[in-house]
């Protein structure tokens, strides 16, 4: 771009030191036993995600997809200003419940992650963890232009520009911010995608796991969690 400062080079040399609680250490127990602890290896599971195949029968899979489309449980995780636009969906005017859409407080029970607006690097880390803890099949909707190309935060040093570099996005809803009507229309479109059996984001994530991880780690410098948060 024309207004880019040619002389500025970002610091790519400095490594962020591992946090103190994540460093390997030896602990002496009260009874004199010496224990070696490596938090990153001991506390977490290192397994990579695997591709879950569809049901063998197309009829069964179609039936399941119908159920998935009509029971969208959204993770109540607002990342930016878009979270404000999601609230009216529950209220009498828009009432998303009548389409089988409801909000779940924990990622374990949710199967739709809505990235509602700009995503700072700090929040991206949490969003990745939340996404990985959700159970397959899971869907991601990018809400607002910030998730598409950075939106008004296009030159910010701390917000990502393209959400699909870091998470497999099934659907974008454009706007800054999109109104609840647009959101509803987007969710209806997502339902159609699920019904067609094309919303296989979790499998895409597992197949291109290395690419996604490389992208994520290139912006999150203090990576102090396992590669896949089970």
């Amino acid at each position: 771009m024309k207004d880019m400062d040619k002389s500025f080079r970002k610091d790519t040399e400095t490594e962020f030191p591992l946090r103190e609680e994540m460093r390997p250490r030896t602990v002496t127990a009260p009874d004199g036993q010496v224990i070696e602890i490596d938090p990153l290896r001991d506390y977490f599971c290192e397994e990579a995600p695997k591709v879950h195949r569809k049901s063998y029968s197309a009829i069964v899979e179609g039936f399941y997809n119908w159920a998935r489309a009509n029971s969208l449980w959204i993770l109540g995780f607002g990342t930016g200003c878009g979270a404000i636009e999601m609230r009216p969906l529950m209220t009498p005017r828009f009432d998303a419940y009548r389409y089988g859409i409801q909000w779940r407080p924990t990622p374990r029970q949710a199967n739709l992650l809505i990235i509602s607006g700009y995503l700072s690097v700090k929040t991206l880390k949490r969003a990745i963890r939340a996404y990985e803890q959700m159970q397959q099949p899971k869907f991601v909707v990018g809400l607002g232009s910030c998730t598409i190309n950075g939106g008004m935060y296009w030159d910010s040093y701390n917000t990502i520009k393209r959400l699909d570099d870091y998470l497999p996005v099934d659907l974008y809803i454009a706007g800054c911010m999109p109104r609840p009507e647009a959101l509803l229309a987007g969710l209806m479109e997502l339902k159609k995608i699920i019904r067609r059996g094309e919303a296989e984001g979790a499998n895409k994530y597992a197949e291109n796991f290395d690419w996604y991880k490389a992208n994520q780690k290139s912006v999150i410098k203090d990576w102090d969690m396992p590669d896949y948060s089970w």
Binding site: M1, D3, M4, D5, F8, R9, K10, D11, T14, E15, F16, V121, K122, K125, I148, N149, G150, W154, D155, S156, Y157, N158, T159, I160, K161, R162, D165, S218, V219, I220, K221, D222, W223
Partner: protein, 179 residues
């Protein structure tokens, strides 16, 4: 409380610059002797009734090679706000005296300034902890020699097809196409 009178009274004992009376209830004044800052702040808090630290912020005057710190103090009873400005040399490492023992809130502001401007306040609690940024390894991002656009272009991938319009020209061409 008359601010002119107050400034005059303070000038007799502290080295103050020319005051700016911005509004009837808002005054700015420079302190030229940085070592006297704590004495002046304690005096303002305990004797003159400026009991509330509204904010502590910094400005990067890169051309003059200086950082400006602004201590905004408020006297609720008199409805007066005083902005006390101090200038630091802009050279690494930048350090300044901490005032967390005068106002505990200053601790948070000083953490922010340490992270965003790289101005250290030795002795301030948790001042070296991360405040907003996580895992930041580059130069403090609010310094003016940090180019945020260049940084974002070198870090995050662009989506092709993004266009920028000047709002004025764009609306002009939309509303009056024939000029």
């Amino acid at each position: 409380m008359d601010m002119r009178e107050l400034i005059e009274r303070l000038t007799s004992r502290h080295k103050l610059g020319a005051p700016i009376f911005q509004r009837p209830d808002l005054t700015f004044v420079d302190l030229t002797d940085n070592d006297r800052l704590r004495a002046l702040l304690v005096e303002l808090r305990d004797i003159e009734g400026f009991t509330h630290l509204v904010l502590l912020t910094a400005v990067d005057w890169i051309e003059e090679g200086k950082f400006q710190l602004t201590y905004m103090l408020n006297n609720r009873a008199a409805n007066q706000t005083l902005g006390l400005r101090v200038y630091l040399e802009r050279k690494d490492p930048v350090e300044f005296t901490s005032i967390h023992d005068i106002w505990p809130t200053a601790e948070t502001y000083q953490r922010e300034l340490r992270e965003m401007f790289g101005i250290n306040f030795p002795g301030s609690p948790r001042v070296m902890d991360e405040f907003i940024l996580e895992g930041w390894t580059d130069m403090p991002p609010y310094r003016r020699d940090f180019d945020t656009l260049a940084y974002s272009q070198q870090t995050y991938r662009d989506r092709p097809g993004r266009a920028t319009n000047d709002p004025r020209d764009h609306m002009k061409s939309k509303m009056y196409p024939e000029g």
